[in-house]
């Protein structure tokens, strides 16, 4: 037991082996969704696509807590900064900083609402995580003078809402099947 305790003390920043691996794996999913364009769902708004690239950060936050969620978001942000084709995201302040908070806020929302039941907690965490992304990115875009505030409001409402719906559906589907939560619907499990 003493040995085990010493091993724990050797760690810095509260990252366990589990935290490292889950962060890496889910960050890979985020990058993969972006690189293959699988993570873009065409929606009828000016921006054209709702992205689900931030969903791994939400899922990581829910599964392993705010540190893991933050790391996944940070890697997603770095990727979107390095490989951006939209001028807005070629700015490190707009691309990287907001993304770190997606998983952190989602994790806090999940922990705060967990008592209401798994289903509700995941839904609220997905809404909070997605809204964090949309609101922070657009706020920083306005602060950095890429977009006028009026345009940011329109983008936020028309783009943010479909994105929240899509993120909730995918987070629920993935986490309910991973955690094997009984969702009350009789469905074949493949």
């Amino acid at each position: 037991m003493g040995e085990g305790k010493r091993m724990q003390e050797g760690r810095t920043g509260g990252l366990t082996t589990r935290g490292i691996v889950i962060s890496g794996v889910l960050a890979a999913v985020a990058i993969f969704l972006g690189a293959t364009r699988l993570g873009f769902i065409p929606v009828p708004t000016a921006a054209g696509n709702a992205t689900i690239m931030h969903v791994p950060a939400i899922i990581g936050g829910i599964l392993e807590g705010p540190v893991v969620g933050g790391i996944i978001g940070g890697i997603f942000g770095l990727y979107s900064f390095f490989y951006a084709t939209i001028p807005l995201f070629k700015d490190p302040i707009v691309a990287i900083v907001p993304r770190i908070f997606i998983g952190i806020f989602a994790a806090w929302a999940y922990q705060a609402t967990r008592r209401a039941g798994e289903w509700w907690a995941i839904t609220i965490a997905a809404v909070v995580g997605t809204a964090t992304n949309t609101v922070l990115v657009l706020t920083l875009a306005v602060v950095r003078h890429y977009l006028p505030a009026s345009v940011a409001w329109v983008v936020g409402l028309t783009h943010g809402i479909p994105e929240i719906i899509v993120a909730v559906i995918i987070s629920l589907a993935v986490l309910l099947s991973w955690k094997r939560v009984q969702s009350g619907q009789a469905r074949a499990r493949v």
Binding site: R11, I22, V25, A28, T36, T85, P87, L88, K90, P148
Partner: protein, 279 residues
């Protein structure tokens, strides 16, 4: 069958070995220099400064012995977005941005002031500059080098409980997992296609489209998490305990010549931020 070949489209960590000075630079020096130049590009407020930056970027491409056309190729798909952003800025900023600036164009409710016109040019130039700097960095540095460099640079911050080694390992795991995910996704898409499953539905039916993506996305996440669990067991079985007292297979040794690049970049940044450019 092209739609199933996901692996080919994943272009993270594209590396162009030309053996130039930039390629041979110590990754730590290169990361610091790139960060400083990115800072210069992000915060230079003047037109002339941005012109200098663009020239410096061309110089970087030349120093990396990267064909200019190759480095700029990625700008073509970005061109429509640059134009859209410029139009949005021209149409909607109006007098809200710097009301004191003189109006240079007015037609109905559309007002363009010279400050907005300047802003449009600087936004576009900044995008091109950052695009070139990040391209040169990724084309001249392997992803593992980047991870080692970041780990080494963050090491002094371990005292502040920044998990430098762990962060580098996260990046390495992510990079190693992407090809596995691509193979698995190919398998899933083919399995769906062979059962007659197709991703259809236009823009207005995005909910239907999301539902159709679920049979691919849910197993993909589950696959990733399952492989993750296996990796955790494998690492713990080998008594992995994190970065404390761990030595590295790759040792980074910088020569004085390596540190010329960040010094030059720092001088450039200071010059860009404080030089009295007339416009």
């Amino acid at each position: 069958m092209n739609e199933f070949e996901l692996l080919r489209n994943v272009t993270i960590g594209q590396y162009l070995p030309t053996g130039s000075y930039l390629h041979r630079l110590d990754p730590r020096a290169k990361i610091i220099a790139a960060t400083l130049v990115i800072g210069a590009a992000s915060f230079t407020p003047s037109l002339l400064g941005n012109a200098c930056l663009l020239a410096a970027c061309v110089g970087l491409v030349w120093a990396g012995r990267i064909p200019l056309g190759y480095a700029l190729r990625g700008l073509i798909p970005a061109a429509p977005f640059i134009v859209i952003l410029a139009i949005l800025q021209l149409l909607f900023f109006g007098r809200n941005y710097d009301p004191a600036s003189p109006v240079i164009f007015q037609w109905g409710w559309i007002v363009v002031t010279s400050a907005v016109a300047r802003l449009v040019v600087i936004s576009a130039a900044r995008f091109v500059e950052l695009f070139i700097v990040t391209s040169v960095l990724t084309l001249s540095t392997q992803t593992t080098e980047l991870a080692h460099g970041i780990e080494s640079l963050l090491r002094p911050f371990r005292r502040l409980r920044v998990p430098s080694h762990e962060m580098a390992l996260v990046v390495t795991i992510a990079v190693r997992f992407i090809p596995l995910l691509a193979l698995e996704a190919e398998r899933l898409l083919k399995a769906q296609a062979s059962r007659g499953g197709r991703v259809v539905g236009g823009r207005w039916k995005f909910l239907a489209r999301t539902r159709q993506l679920l049979p691919v996305l849910v197993p993909l996440f589950t696959f990733a998490l399952k492989r993750g669990e296996e990796l955790i067991v494998a690492m713990e079985a080998r008594a992995y305990t994190g970065g404390e007292g761990r030595t590295s297979y790759t040792l980074l040794r910088g020569s004085p010549a390596d540190w010329l690049a960040p010094i030059a970049a720092l001088a450039f940044l200071v010059f860009m931020l404080f030089a009295p450019f007339p416009f």
